[in-house]
């Protein structure tokens, strides 16, 4: 029933993304025959699994009309916290719990200043980006801490269902939860309405501040979870772990058709965007294109994704006006 709502939207952005995905995949297959191999496909995801987990939370935040620049720093902070506590002899399980707690705390701080004090989220989370990274540096200084227990290191990679690693399962579970919450639950509706127009949400009796606070807490929690996973995957943690991730994360969300002004976006689009970006990166990896060039390509994709519709709109109105003028 609800799917009917989607069909109209799908006609536009998501279809374009699917077409791009198709092109990318075909390109990859023709350029690198090993693209479709199972281990390559697993690699495709696992290298970026922590990022795309955060993408889900970031999508919610941007649809709500806010932004969270601090996610990568919270990720780094949580990873550093685990390393620091573990080094001091605290069991890794407790350390993980503490990391999650830290993420929630970070979310509460951001949420408080944005939802209740009313500060712009750009400024607040910018402070968080710098500040939380600083806290991470205080914990780890300039060392690299590792030597985690075996089972922890295998945590993300642990094949749980068939050959799917745990982290991928976490992603899928989270994806389903967010997709359901966003498109089928009351909470999701509120997120959209607030992002579309904060005042009008208030006029309809929506509790705007609570929703915003909840979203920032979710963002912090998910970021800290990602921090745990990346600490596990890399096996060692530095103060610079996850530095700069927010760029990719925000890019993927915006590329997925989520409007930077809020109120618009689908998780289908975000999912397609994730696939496009991951396949692109993977394909470029197989062609030995450097990570930097990959980021360049994705940056171009991001800008074009907004520029081209704008230009198309301009042409359309010029065309229309010309037709009207001809008629008179």
């Amino acid at each position: 029933m609800q799917v009917n709502l989607k069909w109209e939207v799908l006609k536009r952005w998501e279809t374009l993304l699917a077409a791009v995905l198709f092109i990318v995949v075909v390109f990859n297959i023709t350029q690198s025959p090993i693209f479709l191999r199972a281990d390559n496909l697993t690699n495709l995801f696992s290298l970026h699994i922590e990022k795309i987990i955060i993408v889900l939370a970031m999508a919610l935040i941007i649809i709500n009309g806010e932004i969270d620049l601090s996610v990568a720093s919270v990720m780094g902070l949580s990873a550093c916290l685990i390393a620091n506590l573990y080094e001091q002899g605290i069991s890794i399980e407790i350390a993980m719990l503490c990391a999650l707690g830290a993420g929630i705390l970070c979310g509460i701080v951001s949420g408080f200043f944005v939802a209740y004090v009313g500060l712009p989220s750009l400024a607040v989370t910018l402070a968080g980006l710098i500040g939380y990274r600083g806290l991470a540096k205080m914990l780890i200084e300039d060392r690299s801490i590792g030597n985690f227990p075996e089972w922890f290191n295998r945590l993300g990679q642990q094949p749980l269902v068939g050959s799917l690693p745990l982290s991928l399962i976490i992603f899928f579970v989270l994806f389903i939860v967010v997709a359901v919450a966003l498109h089928y639950a009351a909470f999701g509706r509120y997120v959209f309405v607030i992002g579309n127009n904060r005042e009008s949400a208030r006029y309809s009796g929506v509790r705007v501040r609570q929703v915003k606070m909840t979203l920032f807490i979710i963002s912090g929690l998910v970021a800290s979870l990602a921090g745990i996973l990346i600490a596990a995957r890399l096996g060692a943690v530095r103060a610079s772990t996850a530095e700069g991730f927010e760029l990719d994360i925000i890019t993927i969300v915006l590329l997925g058709g989520v409007s930077v002004f809020g109120g618009k976006g689908t998780l289908v689009g975000v999912a397609l965007s994730i696939l496009v970006v991951l396949c692109l990166r993977n394909g470029m990896n197989l062609l030995s294109i450097t990570g930097n060039t990959q980021s360049t390509v994705i940056g171009i994709l991001l800008i074009l994704s907004v520029l081209i519709p704008n230009l198309a709109q301009d042409f359309q109105s010029i065309w229309k006006r010309r037709r009207l003028n001809l008629r008179e």
């Binding site: 004090v117 500060l119 500040g131 200084e141 990959q294 940056g299 907004v306």
Partner: protein, 353 residues
């Protein structure tokens, strides 16, 4: 009090309080660190903030118009690399030409940003986020993993960091510091004395009114981005001079520090108000804190980013709360002044508005 409100504006009070805070910080550290108040400290701190000041001035131009430029770090790095490459290939290029190359290159990159924001109507965050990656990526491809090193530089460039503009006793004012100060002064004058500068404020203060008043908003925003890029290019040159070694990671993260200095310095993140002098103060405060903490044995050097984040938060929060209260107060006093300046007979028949 009411009289005072004619002389000082709330924004100026904010700058004054920044100065006081800086003095307090210096006071605090002078009691904790030996020989803190000395020429050497001044030189050290001033050179460390010179580069970020120049970038922050450019960033402020863009933020005043209610936009942002996240790509300045990449522009700085690219300009540094490009200029470094040119001068290492032609050792007898005059210093002015080298500066010109860096500035021109930065202006070009900034212009691309500005064009897409202004005329392509793509939100500034998206454009500059993408360009951050694009410029960095192009730099990496262009450099092909070759690093610029000090040996490749002409002597004048290597000596430049130690050149002084003036030397008063113990205190050395380096050329780079002088450059940063000069930039700040030039653009402060620009903001306060050129029609272009006033229009920057107008666009950020009320974009709709600017449109209706017939201001050429798109051209002005484009110019702001070109200038921001040019200043980032200049900062690239200073980067090259200071560090000599330019890797492909040069300049990474500068955009955040620049925005931090701008925000702490009292420029409204939504544009419309703020001064370059304030930006300088913001950079000075942050730089002083950072460098001083570096020398404080009790405090780890890794605290500085945490503090910076805290500072930005406090600056924005206090702006939102305190500055607004001050503004309302000032507005009320202004009305009372106007009322008391009226003739007695008129006052009698005035209703309270």
């Amino acid at each position: 009090m009411i009289r005072l409100s004619r002389l000082l504006r709330p924004e100026q009070i904010r700058e004054l309080s920044l100065v006081i805070i800086i003095l307090l910080v210096i006071l605090f550290f002078s009691s904790n660190i030996e020989n803190y108040v000395s020429g050497r400290t001044f030189t050290r701190i001033s050179t460390s903030i010179a580069i970020i000041t120049v970038v922050a001035v450019g960033q402020a131009l863009v933020i005043l118009t209610r936009n942002i430029d996240l790509s300045v770090g990449s522009i700085v790095g690219f300009a540094a690399y490009f200029a470094g490459q040119q001068v290492s290939a032609n050792q007898d290029l005059s210093p002015l030409v080298v500066v010109g190359i860096a500035v021109g290159f930065g202006a070009l990159l900034g212009g691309i940003n500005g064009f897409i924001v202004s005329y392509g109507r793509v939100p500034a965050i998206i454009v500059t986020l993408g360009m951050l990656a694009i410029y960095r990526g192009v730099l990496v491809d262009y450099a092909q993993a070759k690093t610029i090193t000090t040996e490749m530089m002409p002597t004048w460039l290597i000596d430049l960091p130690r050149q002084n503009i003036i030397s008063i006793g113990d205190v050395d004012v380096r050329v780079m510091v002088g450059l940063a100060l000069g930039v700040m002064i030039i653009f402060q004058l620009c903001l306060s004395s050129l029609p272009f500068g006033r229009r920057l404020y107008a666009i950020g203060s009320n974009p709709d009114a600017a449109r209706i008043a017939g201001l050429p908003a798109r051209r002005i925003v484009l110019t702001a981005y070109i200038l921001c890029g040019a200043l980032s290019g200049l900062a690239g040159f200073m980067f090259l001079v200071r560090f000599g070694t330019i890797t492909i990671a040069a300049g990474q993260g500068l955009e955040l520090a620049a925005i931090g200095a701008v925000v702490v310095g009292g420029v409204n993140i939504f544009g419309g108000s703020g001064t370059m002098f304030g930006v300088l103060l913001g950079a000075v405060l942050i730089g002083t804190l950072e460098q001083s903490l570096l020398r404080t044995p009790q405090v780890s050097e890794f605290v500085r980013d945490a503090l910076l984040g805290l500072f930005i938060l406090l600056a924005v929060a206090s702006d939102s709360v305190i500055l607004n209260q001050l503004r309302n107060l000032w507005a009320r006093w202004g009305r009372e002044r106007a009322l008391s300046a009226m003739l007695p007979t008129e006052k009698e028949t005035t209703h309270a508005s």
